[in-house]
Symmetry: C2
Subunit: 324 residues, 2 copies
DNA sequence: GGGATTGTTGCTCACATGAGCAAATACCGG
DNA sequence: CCGGTATTTGCTCATGTGAGCAACAATCCC
């Protein structure tokens, strides 16, 4: 086909002239009719066709702007209960886009009804960002539980804990931290740790949370797990070569949502992927051009019921659906 | 000041939510009111404030789209009778933008009333482009006269003549060519040439044209005058060092519209800058990021009454006016 | 605390606009 | 050239929307 909608060449040109007068000079359709020597109905039709042909582009340029039509399409084409897609209009850096996404996640959390009594969270740059964007008093008391290990081996030490504490504090609630590394070197150590009353209690609390909030990392050397010293670059390379696209709550999965390395998975402390899959409310916050693959894996395999993401990632997901 | 218009933070957010529903989901203000729990008047006001704060960006994406508000501001801030500014929305290359500008110039010529009996034109890439965009039968008979020398010394030979011939042919009119180089090496040769009946006649015709159509080149090594072998790169460098910003009908001027090298000017064949300045209808077609300086010189010094240009060049001109 | 000032809200009314329909026009195959 | 079909045009009418205004609320300044 040649064009979207059929229209004679002179009509197309007229529709552009009309659109200029209507949208840029905000003249009334009557006035435009006088200028272009057309009836006002013809002008109305020309404007309609200009819109139908996509000549009129309307963008909402604001850090808090969302893309509702994309959200709807995402909900329809995936099984998501809800999708939040932030606009990338006028954004200048990846960081800005991620910050917008974090803000949107904070907004979503704030407006969540019923308010979850316990909220299980993972940790990482994204969630930390979310915690910062939450407003003081965003909820009247929430018990925030860490769902995967994250006492770091280096300077990042604070952030995992501080994310949980900040979210809880701002909700006038309490934080329950999981005092454990993300991954143990020996299975026995991990099992011993899990047997400990304190740790077991936190894990049980995490398993019974009413809602989960987590992000995901792509499988590469910049992963927070490498950064924090739990995994080496070589290990990541190995995982990638075995099909890993990224990690969710510290566990590496492939495009089909399956655990890539069961042995490593056994040594990883925290909630299991399947528990996430079964939970009724799981909110994934994933943004950035690197994360299209892991976002796809998370959404396609039902690891979240709500996705908070950016326009570009959302479009990548839709793109893929189209070709199925 | 902190913001464009004052608005509480929550109202700003509401205005964005309302805008999303209004512009992306095209809901009615009533319906939005129900969703956001507001009266429909409040919704109307929120939308108005979103527009006022520039959160709503409406673009007309089409090769023939113009920017009327910029045109108006240009007319107001300069002494131009008319300004045609093509939109650069959705443009991917400089060449595309120049083509759009040429198209707009062709459109302007076509709609020009009264139709000029004689039209003086210069030559160059831009005007050639204009000639190609004109429609067969754009005017019922126009005598097209070349107003500056341009019989080239190399392969470009054809274009100067073909531009004139094409424009004339498509108007079912006649072309009068100026059979002379752009610049002579010796003043005497030039004077001898001008004394020739044939040449003198063309020049006289050119001086009495009812309208002029020309472009301008910036002063650099890529100039058509260098390309055609009339000037050397060294000569251009010299002109630049003496303040030249570009050429109009083969004559180099500085930012104040003055001839940079009177001696060179004397050896240049064609209409004088001052004759252009005095003419009642002179249409300059200037587009491209390189040409902001020469565009400024042309407009500021009254060398054209009508400017056809692109959005970026127009904005550069307005920018400058603001700082005066 | 009272009065003035400023900003906000709900509303009426006039105008602008899109849906739907009938008349007119263009198009096309015989 | 003609009858039929598709498309376009002009219009009525219902609905959507912005301007303007009065009532109300918030704020500020003595």
């Amino acid at each position: 086909m040649d064009r979207d909608s059929d229209m004679s060449d002179t009509d197309e040109l007229l529709s552009i002239r009309a659109a200029e007068l209507y949208y840029e000079e905000n003249q009334t359709q009557d006035e435009i009719g006088v200028i272009l020597r057309l009836t006002r109905w013809k002008v109305g039709r020309l404007l309609a066709s200009a819109r139908a042909n996509g000549f009129i582009r309307i963008e909402i340029v604001h850090p808090r702007a969302r893309r509702l039509p994309i959200e709807r399409r995402l909900r329809e084409s995936t099984g998501l209960t809800d999708a939040i897609v932030v606009s990338s209009a006028g954004v200048s850096s990846e960081a800005e886009l991620q910050s917008r996404t974090a803000q949107a996640a904070a907004d979503f959390l704030t407006s969540l009804r019923p308010i979850p009594r316990t909220l299980g969270i993972s940790w990482g740059r994204t969630l930390h960002d979310v915690s910062l964007h939450l407003k003081q008093g965003w909820a009247p008391g929430v018990n925030v539980v860490q769902i995967n290990g994250g006492v770091s081996l280096n300077q990042r030490t604070g952030t995992a804990a501080s994310t949980a504490v900040t979210i809880a504090h701002k909700a006038d609630g309490s934080a329950t931290l999981l005092p454990s590394p993300a991954v143990f070197e020996r299975l026995e150590t991990k099992q011993a740790m899990e047997a400990d009353r304190a740790v077991a209690g936190v894990l049980a609390l995490g398993r019974n949370a009413q809602a989960y909030l987590f992000s995901a990392g792509q499988a590469d050397a910049n992963s927070a797990l490498v950064d924090s010293g739990f995994l080496t670059v070589e290990q990541i390379d190995d995982l990638v070569s075995r099909g890993a696209v990224g990690d969710v709550v510290g566990r590496y999965i492939d495009a089909n949502g399956r655990i890539v390395d069961p042995e490593l998975n056994e040594r990883t402390v925290g909630i299991q992927i399947d528990q996430l899959r079964r939970a009724p409310l799981t909110i994934a916050v994933i943004s950035g051009n690197d994360k299209h693959a892991i976002a796809r894996a998370v959404v396609r395999n039902g690891l979240c019921t709500v996705l908070v993401t950016d326009e570009d990632t959302a479009n990548a997901l839709l793109q893929e659906k189209d070709t199925l």
